[in-house]
């Protein structure tokens, strides 16, 4: 792990991860900030240039940087969503109970949320921060991306955070944009998901970028949620977000929430599609995602979104361009499996809240888990601070894990014959001479304790996946990376305990490539070792556990 991506900002940050002087709002100071930030932005822009003759060949995310892993969840709902029910404090208390260090509160955007909910959730979040001092609680939004699916948008706490979120939602939420003026919306696009919204999505991301540029926020991030669920996140939209604001639009849920939704009705579940992935193409869906005899993009595979789960699929087609796109795992917690609470009786449309939930005394049929109960997004960060966790996410130091399948993961990629003894880690980028050997060392800390399904999960295998970096795709709707494949599968011996180490060498590399890891409990695999399409209404999420680690890019110079 390392803080390489942050390198460009170091000289701008005299104290404590922040160069921004809250007390100093003099125009001169603003101009100076803009100048300094501009330098940072320019440097970052060259850094993401797909490694094609980039001037900056500083390794990013260097191994053994002293970073630590912090588990979190960037997708959590409360009673301020029309389809959810819990108090903020209840969600945070459960996140803490299930081992999370950071959470993002992301109620659905829309007219009522923008007008009524923001002012209510902000003080609740502040109260939760005071009540749970060891848990970072971010204020965010589940943005209806105009023309597409939902996304998490969030910022670290700051003087302007709520104002930025409020203005962002008022101008750019797909629900607000598509709601007629007479009903309090903007009436500018036909539907939240219709293609006339796409330019608004890009403008929205530029707006967030500008807030950081202007010094009103330290950092702002966007992650696309449940990207393949309804087929409305086309490949060109994903590329458009990433390329418009690469420091803001950083990735997507590799695994959606609602992981309890496919538990059979006999076992108290809803018997729906896992992740509530059970849709089929609609009018705004990307035609290329239509189900075929071979696959159904509208379903999860091993609990992960098809874009991520398919080797050589959409995620790989983005990575093959040489640009990071980070995947996560979240709870999307609205209503929790096995819980007896039902929504309050308040009218959300007119008050922005459903009111306090009511204990019905009867177990309800719900499809979600508490934050951290099943899904974790592990982020490598320099410290347990709001800005550092977000920087870790932006740097791609991220592992998505289900059911606590592993306790830890170290990945080290280096070219020792090139004189690089240190190497880079997850989410990183290294630069090696043509013809050198690239050595990959994987160290997995196997699960040593019971997960929240009540058993110690057993990792069966780790796949090392790699593919050529082929540069920016001429076809913005490209959705495959034919050159990406599993290059080696490491079996975990039965009875293995503690740490287990695997190595692989890419000999005499002659062109840029990337590599990534995934691991499985091995219980539901096809003949090629890939995850199976999850069966609606008949899927025990605890007997189909996976982890996915974000890529390392190897540039050849």
């Amino acid at each position: 792990m390392g803080a390489g991506h942050d390198h460009h900002h170091h000289e701008l940050e005299p104290v404590d991860g922040s160069w921004r002087d809250e007390a100093d709002d003099r125009p001169l100071s603003v101009a100076r900030r803009r100048f300094l930030t501009g330098m940072g932005v320019a440097a970052a822009a060259t850094a993401v240039g797909a490694g094609t003759a980039a001037a900056d060949q500083t390794p990013r995310n260097q191994w053994n940087s002293g970073d630590r892993w912090y588990a979190g969840d960037h997708h959590i709902h409360t009673k301020y969503s029309p389809d959810a029910q819990y108090e903020v404090a209840t969600q945070v208390a459960n996140a803490r109970r299930y081992g999370l260090d950071w959470v993002v509160i992301t109620d659905h955007g829309g007219v009522a949320h923008q007008k009524f909910s923001i002012d209510q959730v902000a003080p609740d979040i502040e109260a939760a921060r005071r009540q749970f001092r060891d848990t970072l609680v971010y204020q965010g939004l589940e943005w209806n991306i105009p023309g597409a699916e939902h996304a998490t948008v969030f910022l670290p706490p700051g003087r302007h955070t709520v104002d930025i979120l409020r203005a962002f939602e008022a101008a750019y939420d797909g629900g607000v944009l598509s709601t007629p003026v007479a009903q309090g919306g903007l009436g500018k696009i036909q539907r939240a998901t219709s293609a006339d919204g796409e330019p608004y999505a890009l403008a929205a991301l530029r707006y967030l970028d500008a807030q950081v540029f202007a010094g009103r926020a330290e950092i702002a991030l966007m992650l696309a949620n449940h990207p393949a669920r309804r087929g409305v996140d086309s490949p060109h939209e994903l590329r458009g977000w990433r390329d418009t604001a690469p420091d803001v639009a950083i990735g997507m849920e590799g695994a959606p929430g609602h992981q309890a939704s496919a538990i059979t009705e006999a076992n108290g579940g809803r018997g729906d599609g896992r992740g509530f992935y059970e849709a089929s193409p609609g009018v705004d869906s990307f035609p290329g995602y239509a189900p075929t005899a071979i696959e159904n993009p509208y379903r999860t595979y091993g609990g992960f979104d098809w874009m991520t789960a398919k080797v050589g699929g959409v995620w790989d087609s983005l990575l093959a361009e040489g640009r990071p796109w980070t995947i996560t795992a979240t709870s999307d917690s609205h209503q929790v499996f096995g819980d007896t609470f039902a929504p309050g009786t308040q009218d959300h449309a007119t008050t922005g809240s459903r009111g306090a939930p009511i204990d019905s005394g009867v177990v309800q049929q719900y499809g979600d888990y508490w934050p951290g109960q099943y899904s974790s997004t592990l982020v490598g960060a320099r410290s347990r601070s709001y800005v550092d966790i977000m920087r870790g996410l932006r740097a791609g130091k991220v592992v998505a894990v289900h059911g606590r399948l592993i306790d830890g993961l170290e990945l080290r990629v280096r070219a020792r014959s090139d004189g690089d003894t240190r190497g880079v880690s997850i989410g990183g980028r290294t630069f090696v001479r043509r013809g050198t050997d690239v050595e990959v060392t994987i160290e997995v800390t196997l699960a040593s304790r019971a997960n929240f399904g009540g058993f110690v999960p057993k990792l069966a295998k780790v796949d090392l996946i790699a593919g050529a970096v082929t540069g920016p795709s001429a076809d913005r709707d490209a959705m495959t990376a034919p050159g990406t494949a599993v290059v080696e599968t490491f079996a975990v011996p039965a009875g293995a305990r503690g740490k287990i180490r695997f190595t692989h060498v890419f000999p005499r590399v002659d062109r840029a490539f990337y590599l990534r890891l995934r691991g499985s409990d091995g219980k539901q695999l096809d003949a090629a070792g890939n995850p199976l399409m999850d069966v609606p209404g008949d899927d025990d999420p605890w007997s189909d556990l996976w982890f996915y680690a974000n890529p390392v890019f190897v540039d050849v110079i």
Binding site: S81, G271, F276, S280, G282, N296, P536, D538
Partner: protein, 166 residues
């Protein structure tokens, strides 16, 4: 003589099943035996287009009434495009329960039942909702594994709607 009539559908909110119901009510005066929908992506905003198969020549009065209901006139088209989704087809009414693939093909206009990564030798629980699609000129019903050892169509009547389906 078989002809196909095409028209842009007026926007309707709600589940696919509800939208289909509204469409079929709108075109009931045509007495079409096969009605399809597809997404037309040629404009800035996608829209749903209907194609209806007629085995007779509709009267001018019927066409005028249809134009009135749709808000614009229908036009004669070559047929539904690849991937069009079939909302009504011959034999549909008889297939409301659990049937084998052979029964479905024998009893309806569906030419083939195709499993996604699964053989179609288990019974298919239609749940009274079948939306086959035109694939290379043939009407194909895609099915997938479901709970309880049965298969089910990949399109279901009421998929879970998050946040009111925003």
């Amino acid at each position: 003589m078989v002809r196909w009539l095409g028209a842009v559908c007026p926007p309707v909110d709600g589940s696919a099943a509800h939208v289909d119901h509204v469409l079929l009510s709108t075109v009931d005066i045509l007495a079409a035996d096969l009605v399809c929908t597809h997404a037309d992506h040629t404009g800035a905003v996608a829209r749903t287009v209907m194609t209806a198969r007629l085995n007779h020549e509709p009267t001018a009065a019927v066409l005028a009434e249809l134009a009135d209901r749709l808000g614009l006139p229908a036009v004669w088209v070559a047929g539904p495009p690849e991937g069009a989704r079939c909302v009504r087809f011959p034999g549909q009414e008889a297939l409301t329960g659990v049937h084998s693939a052979a029964e479905i093909v024998a009893a309806s206009a569906i030419d083939e039942v195709v499993g996604i990564g699964v053989a179609v030798d288990s019974p298919i629980d239609t749940r009274g909702f079948l939306r086959p699609t035109f694939t290379e000129g043939r009407l194909v019903l895609l099915v997938e594994q479901a709970a309880g050892g049965v298969l089910r169509p990949v399109e279901i009547a009421a998929p879970h709607q998050c946040c009111g389906g925003h």
